[in-house]
Symmetry: C2
Subunit: 723 residues, 2 copies
């Protein structure tokens, strides 16, 4: 072969690569943030080549094998050449991947404190010098730390970060970092907008869909270590032997990625599959049945995580059916799981049609008195706000109010009430707002994040749960940018003090491009997207305005549902005199559930942050806001602002076209068009409806609705997904 | 760059390719039979390089653009280099792709007869010599022929066929080659076992999932030119404007691939979405409503194909609700569609609980008298057998009995009654058996294929429909080998005289490997698979033994369903004296619906093919078969044979391991294990049950069931898919 022939061949092969890539276009997005294409940057590439010249990987367990497999996959892809991995150490190594116990004591000594800090799950990535050789060290106390360290290393490489003088000591601040799948056994997903359930129960346990492992990889790469496979509106059948075998097969796939499997436990299971005539948690037979069932489960799945329970909520059975309390129910299950180190996660999402007080108050009222009464393997899971995953809610007053109970934060990642998988809404911005909120429960600097990570009250265990947005769609989440919500949830569960902006940047660089001409403007789309959805759906503290059942689109007029607190009219209280829910002492007094410092701020319309104004106050239509606008105009202008923000997102996205593939561009462009259409729909429907009370004209700058109110009221969506 | 550096780089790049490939492993199967990886064969590669050196592609329409895109994609992938395409002709061209009208008259003259033969959809691939230059010519009369020719060319290349002296003149023998999707608007798929519906109605029309185009490509590559998007158990809503806009968006994606969109029309739509109080086909308002609806549809979708209708069958509304006939109903719709050249495809799958005659006779009885009464844009669609997609049925007696009505063959591709997507069952073997069946309606050589392709009775139009097995699974069909059923259906719709063995070979080579060490043994698995499923489910003419509703697994004992003909006991008629359904003149006389030549053969147990024995005869348990076995022993041994055949399939597959990727191997191996488990389940359940009548021991060679009959009767599958 002469030089030019070789060059020609290289040209062909490179072309071929491009073609391969174009052949795979339809599968854009399957790789999530884990695509490993070759790094072309001429500065960083030689550095990476130097560091990876000879890698010592100290193997020895299933998790470590996984870590090595991931490292090889990543390095091979990023450097475009097969990685040089050795399972025995040599002087020529340029990288060491090894647990502390397998390292030379002299190497370890200088950073003993780091090892103490990283605990079981943390890792260290450090540039060290041994016998004048510069070595990149990835180390940890336990196998899982090595896996997390490897994923971090690859993320750094994807972002072209230099390893010179690197010294990362990282450890998750929250113990249980879990996804909640609201997946039914028929593979429909309640509030699922990305296709259907990944779990193919029919073919399990024999058939292991390759996607199960890809799911585990993605989760492990962002530190998620627990997954609840089934819907909180639970089905007892999943606790029968036939299904437990299937669950065990999934657990086996997830185990090498450090992920434990949990199930939802239907409280009436002893009746439904146990043949008993009661599920009373104090009944001997019931107790025995659950003890026995726990034994069965742990025999098949020795590292089973535990149960997530929705009890006495929205029709689910629970201990109250037998005159018992949440504590009775949770502790009974906790006793059954305790011999096996299993956890009970008991949801505090409760409200009752029999309770005539403000729905926003009920969970607090019901649970706070139980503080300290739960066994120590019980965690109470609380939604971020006191109603239900609205575009904006003040933080749930229970956070900080149960110092002796570990509280799990429940965020939603799926976008119920938030445009489903058609709208680009970057949720870490919402998570951040909640986590950063001050509870004042131990003075200033008592944030929700400090409650959640256990630092405020020195909790023994901590957890954060996200209602998954994952389904069978090729790109997992329906909207490509919904991947960022999965990613961001994982990152914040690892470290609830991260900024949403940093997360957006990380995700964009890992997923699309390191080019700042792309990253910066698109990051601005992400950051503004959450405020946009608040504006075009529920501005100024409005909430729960959606249509019934499917929760798709606006339905502020709905007032005829059997349970009063299911009606939007219950929440906005619009009438000729004004709009909003009075939750101050003159109203429901829900503010009293917050610390006095917070309550005081919320109680006065003048001090209440305007984004919560109508959440806490019923105000006249001509009430003057800080900027001088009257309330009606402000509401209308906020709706318009939301629509305009989506328009702006589209303009920015069009600028991004040149930096990504046509398919990547078009996919988001099409979805943004849906978002714009639906933002206008929300604006038009809500303003026309509220106008029937305010009797005022739309202020200048607000576009006139294309249709009349009757049109918007007439729309029906019998097959909207996720219902 | 010196030589060795270049070589090293090439090595790296090649390695990279391998890695790219391994990164994509989880997506194995998405490409179907259309993967274009580089040809490594040292003999054929230079020939292809020579032929593709300079390609003249005569462009000019959307379909031709598609054809060029496909050609580029294929050639680039197969040759590993960018193809050299010119849209203007030159002396240097080595390949011409051009319609007849754009070719020089002197070129065309010598094969004028070929052009006459290929009609609208056919194509010619021919090696010709022009001015001493050897040119590979792909030509056709119409755009669509060019597209089909391009796909054929690429298929030949994938199979390493030489182009020397090539002279292919190919044309589809059947006009409507259509898929029937039993997809519901909520994305569940009736009898769907490959996930859920591809049609994301929620995001249509704005969001075009890239899979829609990939779906169209796959269909066009095998000649499918029509798709019915919705379930025959129909929902009127799809005929409303909101949905028609969505349908139009799909039609737009499919159009450049030569595929027309059809919908199912619910007969009561004028009531449900039209606000009328009747759907009587002779009512003026009803007629006007359908005429008007047709206009609406064609305004949005100018090339809309037409309606598929299931009427007065299994609870679907129809003309009989108003005392009218199938002819009244079909012709009313045909009149509405006729101005736009639309078709009505009226299903003959009817049977009634009020009709006490043998269900197998009812469709024939009801439809044959209408022969000649339908308008000429009506086709009647008949299932392959007289019951319902059983593992084996004799051909439907209606084929050949309606000489004045074009009959569409309805095959199922999805595997209801055939192990769902867990069992490897190569259905073209079944299709072939039906198509090759002699009807004797115009003497010998009057096969079902000749009825279907219109040649026997000189029909004006012809059609073949397949109930699709396509869903959201990454590999489209759940079981990788179920792709072969989609492929094979398309091939037989193009040419119903192809052999199933040739199709199996084609598909294996296009999908997996050209290596005959792989192809030959795996082909033997495919070819034997259909007889295996007959043996382990319903041997010797038994049928309809499945469990209720989901049709998953055996339920021969079921006898308590409200409609007698829904019970398996109705079909097997087992009692102490024997087993089987007497359809001879001494019984239901269903044989009289066949031509006398066929009836005579079926009527006598001695001449009746043993594979149909218990379909047509009730025989004593000790009836002697041709091989001397008594009936009970023969039934038992057939069940065992089915199980053994699956065992053999597994042994052969294990030998194939070295020729394919680990993922490709493991996927099928896991599924074969399910098939083996379920084959045993069928054997055990059926034999234990029939044994309660025969009172005889299992003959030597038949394995004893692991569980007792009560166990098998107790199994419940509330979430089996496709229900």
């Amino acid at each position: 072969m002469n030089i030019s022939a070789a060059q020609v061949k290289i040209f062909y092969i490179i072309t071929f690569l491009v073609i391969m890539n174009s052949n795979a276009q339809s599968l854009e997005g399957y790789d999530l943030w884990l695509g490993y294409s070759k790094i072309e940057d001429p500065v960083i590439l030689p550095e990476y080549q130097r560091h990876t010249k000879s890698i010592f990987f100290n193997n020895g367990s299933a998790v470590l094998e996984t870590a090595q497999k991931e490292l090889v996959r990543g390095i091979d892809g990023l450097l475009g050449q097969p990685s040089n991995i050795h399972n025995s150490q040599s002087l020529l190594n340029t990288m060491w991947v090894s647990k502390k116990m397998d390292l030379d004591k002299d190497i370890v000594k200088p950073f003993k404190a780091d090892f103490e800090q990283i605990g079981k799950e943390g890792f260290i990535i450090k540039s060290i010098t041994v016998n004048d050789n510069s070595i990149l060290l990835i180390t940890a106390n336990e196998d899982i730390g090595i896996l997390y360290g490897v994923f971090k290393l690859l993320q750094l490489m994807k972002m072209h970060k230099s390893f010179e003088g690197i010294n990362i000591v990282d450890v998750p601040k929250i113990e249980l970092r879990m996804l909640n799948h609201w997946d039914n056994l028929d593979r429909t997903v309640e509030r699922g907008y990305a296709g259907f359930s990944l779990w193919n129960w029919q073919k399990l346990p024999e058939y292991i869909d390759p996607r199960y492992e890809d799911y585990a990889r993605a989760n492990a790469s962002i530190g998620i270590n627990a997954t609840v496979l089934t819907n909180v509106n639970a089905n007892s059948l999943v606790l029968t032997s036939a299904y437990l075998d299937k669950v065990a097969a999934l657990a086996e796939v997830f185990r090498p990625y450090g992920i434990k499997v949990y199930l939802t436990a239907r409280f009436s299971a002893p009746i439904e599959i146990g043949g008993l005539n009661t599920a009373d948690p104090l009944d001997k037979d019931v107790i025995e049945w659950w003890n026995d069932r726990a034994k069965k489960i742990y025999k098949i799945i020795p590292d089973f995580g535990g149960f997530l329970v929705k009890a006495n909520s929205e029709g689910q059975p629970g201990p109250q059916n037998y005159g018992r309390t949440h504590v009775d129910g949770a502790n009974m299950l906790a006793n059954a799981l305790r011999p096996f180190n299993g956890m009970v996660i008991w949801r505090a999402f409760v409200y009752s049609e029999l309770d005539t007080t403000d729905r926003a108050k009920q969970a607090f009222t019901e649970f706070v008195p139980y503080d300290g009464n739960f066994l120590d393997n019980v965690l109470v899971q609380v939604k971020n706000g006191p109603i239900d995953f609205q575009p904006r809610e003040p933080f749930h007053p229970t956070f900080g109010a149960m110092p002796n109970t570990p509280l799990v934060m429940e965020f939603q990642i799926t976008q119920e009430y938030l445009g489903f998988s058609s709208h680009l809404v970057f949720l870490p911005k919402l998570y951040e707002e909640v986590l950063d909120a001050e509870t004042y429960r131990k003075g200033k600097k008592s944030t929700v994040a400090q409650v959640i990570d256990g630092s405020l009250f020195n909790s023994k265990i901590s957890g954060m749960a996200g209602v998954a947005n994952i389904g069978t769609d090729l790109n997992w989440t329906g909207h490509p940018f919904a991947q960022a919500n999965w990613y961001g949830f994982g990152r914040l569960a690892w470290n609830p003090y991260l900024s949403s902006e940093a997360i957006a940047e990380e995700w964009l660089r890992l997923t699309y491009s390191n080019n700042s001409e792309f990253v910066e403007p698109v990051k601005s789309i992400m950051i503004s997207s959450r405020e946009a959805v608040v504006n075009y759906m529920t501005p100024l503290g409005l909430h729960h305005l959606m249509d019934t059942g499917h929760h798709y689109g606006p339905g502020p007029w709905v007032s005829d549902l059997s349970r009063p607190e299911w009606n939007p009219t219950y929440y906005h209280q619009a009438d000729k005199d004004g709009i909003g829910f009075d939750r101050t002492p003159s109203g429901s007094n829900a503010t009293s559930q917050y610390s006095s410092e917070i309550a005081e701020i919320f109680n006065a319309p003048e001090t209440c942050p305007e984004e919560y104004l109508l959440w806490f106050h019923h105000l006249p239509w001509d009430y003057k806001l800080k900027n001088g606008e009257i309330l009606w105009d402000a509401v209308a202008l906020k709706y318009q602002e939301g629509v305009d923000q989506v328009g702006e997102m589209i303009s920015i996205w069009k600028q991004a076209k040149t930096y990504i593939s046509d398919d990547q561009y078009n996919e988001v462009r099409m979805l943004l068009e849906i978002q714009l259409k639906e933002a206008k729909w929300w604006r038009n429907a809500c303003l026309l409806y509220f106008q029937t009370f305010s009797g005022k004209k739309l202020p200048p700058g607000v576009e006139l609705p294309e249709e009349n109110l009757e049109f918007y009221r007439s729309l029906k969506f019998p097959y909207a997904p996720g219902n």
